[in-house]
Amino acid sequence: MASRLLLKNLSKRHLLCSAFASRSASTLVLAEHEGGSIKAQSLSAVVAANSISQDNSVSMLLAGSGSSLQQAAKRAATCHPSVSQVLVADSDKFEYPLAEPWAKLVQLVQQKGGYTHVIATSGSFGKNILPRAAALLDVSPVTDVVEINGAHQFVRPIYAGNALCTVRYTGSSPCMLTVRSTSFPVPPISANAKSDGAPISQVDLSTLDEDSIGKSRYIKLSSEDTERPDLGSARIVVTGGRALKSAENFKMIEKLAEKLGAAVGATRAAVDAGFVPNELQVGQTGKIVAPELYMAFGVSGAIQHLAGMKDSKVIVAVNKDADAPIFQVADYGLVGDLFEVIPELLEKLPEKK
């Protein structure tokens, strides 16, 4: 009886194996670069590609112009052992990551390369460009994916993360996704991982469809110059809410962040009130973060804010109101006045190593 059962299981597994082997994938990752380096979030897209299929060739697509692009391409070639090819689109049209030329580029590269999957991380770059490209390729994209269950089944949060929806993609190639970088962490890559690096090839842009390119023009980017680590990938995040009462008081949050080597975050209320610029907003409509330590000061814990940080490993909340919803997700809570707690923390915390 037992042996028959064993045989049955073995034959099932054999079938699964052969099905898997014949279903090889090829993935195009839309990558971002800055100052000659690949942005950390783009590597998450490569990690996500690995979950799609064991047999998956990953190509990274970069666009831009000039030497910083070529430098980024060289970095891309060795950034992750899974990357088997780097495609570079070098043109003035890509000087800024505008959706119109990028979508046409993806269409062009897809038509030539016939990839089974196209992935970008779901930051403002991916969210802006991938759906437009999907429309040009006549497919529905799956956005904000947090889990990949095979080549065509994905899990994504809905209702501000209060529910998880598993969807199956049943359309034609390519299957297009944006993935949450916090759900696909990049393991540290050993120095010897890929000594040679993937081949780099220039994309032939001579047949790039010009229609709609040029109708949008980049004017400027206003951003705060900061030495703080990137909010999306920082190990520790210190967030302040409206209870900080002023931009001046917010400096306390910054001091604490400095002491911990952390990034600074803010709630939507704090940004709306003008205490800090929008790029610090954590939440459903801001950035999604999942650091090792998330410290929230004067944050009530509205659903939309929780949606942006509830996957943090350790959550600390400090609030005067013992009934604040934030305490329901906090691992460690302190009911107290942040104006007293923060100075004491600054005094007592060990210096960062």
Binding site: R132, V139, S140, L164, V167, R217, F327, P350
Partner: protein
Amino acid sequence: MVAVKRVVDYAVKIRSGVETQNLKMSMNPFCEIAVEEALKIKEAGLAQEVVAVTIGPANCVDTLRTGLAMVADRGIHVEAARELVPLTVAKVLKRLVKVENPGLLILGKQAIDDDCNQMIAGLLGWPQGSFASKVVLEKEKQVATVDREVDGGLETLCLDLPAMITTDLRLNQPSYATLPNIMKAKSKPIKKYTPEELNVEIKYDLEVVQVTEPPKRKAGVILSSIDELIDKLKSEAHVI
């Protein structure tokens, strides 16, 4: 043209199974902002007419009436019994744009369950200003200068009209429709279409397999002192 979507009210707490039968439904908050922006543009004399559009089953007309009460002169309801995939929604909107010829298409940047509005701009070949926190229209030059909230800060783009904008939360503060306007809205015309009448092939390339509750976090503790907090973070959580 403004697109509005009827969704579960954002303040409703969702539990697993997501039974939407008796839940409070309202206009997607981002669509409210889109409607408000259309109102501001019309009040500034930069638009002659605002058309509100919704796609979905019969009860979506409620949402359309709200749009009509706020600002829209006419409404369009594309009736679809089943939830359409983003690609089909985009194709329907494209057809409507071809019929109506608006100079500006405004949508919310995301809904409670999707965020694919950029697709329509792709199908139309129009420039897109997504996640807009400020829109300035210049009629003579036929351009829109848009400030967008991006990961790196605030990006400013100049778009040739006709263009598509998706609204971010800080674009404006939606106002409420006044009672007289709500009454007037009842007699504003709503044109009905079906996707078939618009020559849109309904394709389903996404299938919902299941909806589940996310794993719950383990309950935390309230500590009594900062010393205790630092100690826990060091020796228990090992994060500092």
